[in-house]
């Protein structure tokens, strides 16, 4: 499902030199597999997910998703692949505040090959327990409900891979636990692989397969300015 090989990304530092952020020699995720990566803030987890999602272009290396090499694609094709194959749950949810719950989910589907499907959007919102909040705006929802909208949006286009970036970062322990259970269940029901990154030990404890991001990400000292 996901294969990463020799992936490298660096940024220009304020001082002018280049700072290596990500250098992952090899990483793989099987179809339907659920994996968590443990990593401290600033360790490059989000950048790693952005590179997998094609939101950022890698300096070098390969990311292959469902048999398609993302890193070989132009930006427009990466956008298309992301819309077709990926779901992304952001730490801050990143809901569109001017759009209703239903519209947020429809927009999550709208750029994919199947297009916006209101029936499916309602189904998945019902699945996450928001059938009664379809026409509410994000600001009218609790934090937990907003998180569920983000989950529904990420799953709405029937992705093959869901990337979750600190999905419980803004939730209390009870809601964090419930939210993770929901994310994992919904991914399983939709046969989507899940790659979650977090520094929250309680969240990570719910995963059988947890890897330290620092062990797979080794930006070389030569990258640091």
């Amino acid at each position: 499902m996901l294969a990463v090989a020799d992936l490298h990304k660096s940024f220009v530092s304020p001082e002018g030199g280049r700072v290596g952020i990500v250098h992952v020699a090899a990483f793989a995720l099987a179809a339907g597999e659920q994996r968590a990566l443990r990593g401290e803030s600033g360790s490059g987890k989000t950048t790693f997910l952005h590179l997998i999602a094609g939101i950022l272009a890698a300096d070098s290396g390969h990311v292959t998703i469902d048999g398609v090499e993302m890193t070989a694609l132009g930006e427009s094709q990466r956008d298309r692949l992301r819309a077709a194959k990926l779901g992304y749950i952001f730490q801050a949810f990143n809901l569109l505040q001017g759009h209703t719950v239903l519209e947020n989910v429809l927009l999550g589907m709208g750029f994919g090959p199947r297009g916006a499907d209101a029936v499916h959007a309602r189904e998945i919102l019902t699945r996450v327990g928001l059938a009664h909040r379809l026409h509410h705006f994000p600001r009218q929802l609790s934090t937990g409900q907003q998180q569920r909208v983000a989950v529904a949006r990420a799953l709405a286009n029937r992705p093959r891979l869901v990337l979750a970036d600190e999905p419980t970062g803004n939730l209390d322990h009870r809601h964090a636990r419930e939210s993770l259970v929901l994310i994992r269940e919904v991914c399983r029901e939709n046969d989507a692989a899940l790659l979650l990154v977090s520094h929250d030990e309680q969240a990570l404890a719910q995963f059988e397969g947890v890897q330290d991001f620092a062990l797979i990400n080794r930006p070389g000292p030569e990258d640091r300015s």
């Binding site: 999602a53 939101i55 730490q91 759009h99 750029f111």
Partner: protein, 400 residues
């Protein structure tokens, strides 16, 4: 659907600036349409308003003044001509009809024009249309009777049986009231020509009105002429204007009015320029409005990009948004245009009697709104480029 949803929500989210910007577009579009339509329609209406006559014969002077005085009932008369001059042109074999008029008096600003009954009985002011009475009857020659044009009657509240004292001169001065009493014999049906603003009385009425020069008691102010053939006009033009030096033969009426519009065409161009500038400023307002909202919308646009929206989709959404604001403004612009045009048309009718038609079609009625939408879309390109370049990863989250 997705694109329209993005556009719709963005417009809703920025409802106030959307309404304000669309209003400025509406004003610009309405102004542009009004300037253009009033210009083209008034030119067409004025050149067509010849009251059914081909030419005007009058005292030596400006042809334009003669036409404005005799046909449009504006301007002062350039002078009088003798009854024998009227008789001469009436008997000319190239002339089909010649009707004399005499001016010099008014009723509270509305002109009294002396003429013969054949003005209504034989002359068609438009093909197949003669001056018909709405109420009452025609004046009796020699009697102190009047027939009021529809607009003048409505404004002065005249009806058959009413009486009035005329005032001396073409401009109303309440000190200059004549002693004669006239009775309204009838009111003419609307003709939508300058004649609607006139109160018609027998020719002799103006000629012999108390206070007028008795030596000019048989003079007329002008003779309105219908020709048997258009070529005759050039012959008479040669005879009166080139070979003679006492009278002026204004022919053809439409060309003389067209000359007037030619003379004031600079004013049209100034109005057009102002309208175009207003349109440009309105398009710039669209640009500024959307551009200023870009900072606030940057995160939303980055989220859309993260969801799979391509750069060109985001670019298109912003351009469409600008075009939709333009379209909303253009639609409202029709309402502004209708209001403005109705006001201007009423003013022109009150001042000249010439009627402009609100329902008249001109290609500018679709060209201007479509052009406005295109201009707004063009204005949207600048903020769209800004949206196009949004760095998704940087905007969404700091590197961790």
């Amino acid at each position: 659907m997705t694109l329209w949803l993005i556009v719709y929500r963005s417009l809703r989210q920025h409802a106030l600036s959307t309404v304000v910007t669309a209003s400025s577009i509406a004003l610009a579009c309405g102004l542009l349409l009004c300037v253009w339509m009033v210009k083209t329609q008034s030119q067409a209406a004025f050149t067509a308003a010849n009251a059914g006559f081909d030419a005007v014969l009058g005292a030596r002077g400006s042809k334009l003044q003669l036409v404005l005085n005799a046909i449009f009932h504006l301007e002062a008369s350039p002078g009088n001509l003798a009854w024998s001059d009227y008789e001469a042109i009436r008997r000319h074999p190239a002339v089909k009809t010649a009707v004399p008029i005499a001016v010099g008096d008014n009723l509270r600003g509305y002109r009294l024009v002396g003429t013969l009954p054949e003005m209504f009985a034989t002359v068609e002011f438009a093909p197949g249309k003669k001056g018909a009475l709405a109420t009452g009857r025609l004046f009796t020659p020699g009697a102190h009777e009047a027939v009021a044009g529809s607009f003048a009657a409505a404004r002065l509240g005249l009806k058959a049986g009413d009486t009035f004292h005329p005032f001396h001169g073409l401009a109303y001065d309440e000190q200059n009231q004549h002693a004669e009493t006239y009775t309204v014999a009838g009111v003419l049906a609307p003709t939508n020509t300058p004649a609607d603003r006139v109160i018609w009385i027998p020719l002799a009425g103006v000629q012999t009105m108390g206070g007028h020069d008795p030596r000019a008691a048989t003079d007329v102010s002008a003779v309105l002429v219908q020709l048997r053939a258009p070529t005759a006009g050039f012959m008479l033009d040669l005879m009166y204007n080139k070979q003679g030096n006492r009278l002026t033969f204004a022919y053809p009426v439409a060309a003389i009015i067209a000359e007037l519009f030619q003379k004031i065409s600079w004013f049209d161009r100034v109005l057009e320029l102002v309208a175009y500038l207003v349109a440009l400023v309105a398009a710039a307002a669209v640009l500024a409005s959307i551009y200023n909202s870009m900072s606030a919308r940057q995160r939303d646009l980055a989220i859309l990009r993260a969801l799979g929206a391509r750069r060109r989709t985001i670019f298109g959404a912003v351009v469409i948004e600008a075009a939709v604001i333009g379209a909303m403004g253009a639609l409202a612009g029709y309402a502004v245009y209708l209001g403005l045009f109705a006001g201007v048309a009423e003013l022109i009718r009150a001042q000249t009697g010439v009627v402009l038609t609100l329902a008249a079609w001109h290609p500018v009625l679709w060209l201007a709104p479509v052009g406005m939408v295109a201009l707004c879309a063009l204005g949207g390109v600048v903020p769209a480029l800004k949206a196009y370049r949004i760095p998704v990863a940087d905007t969404l989250a700091p590197v961790s």
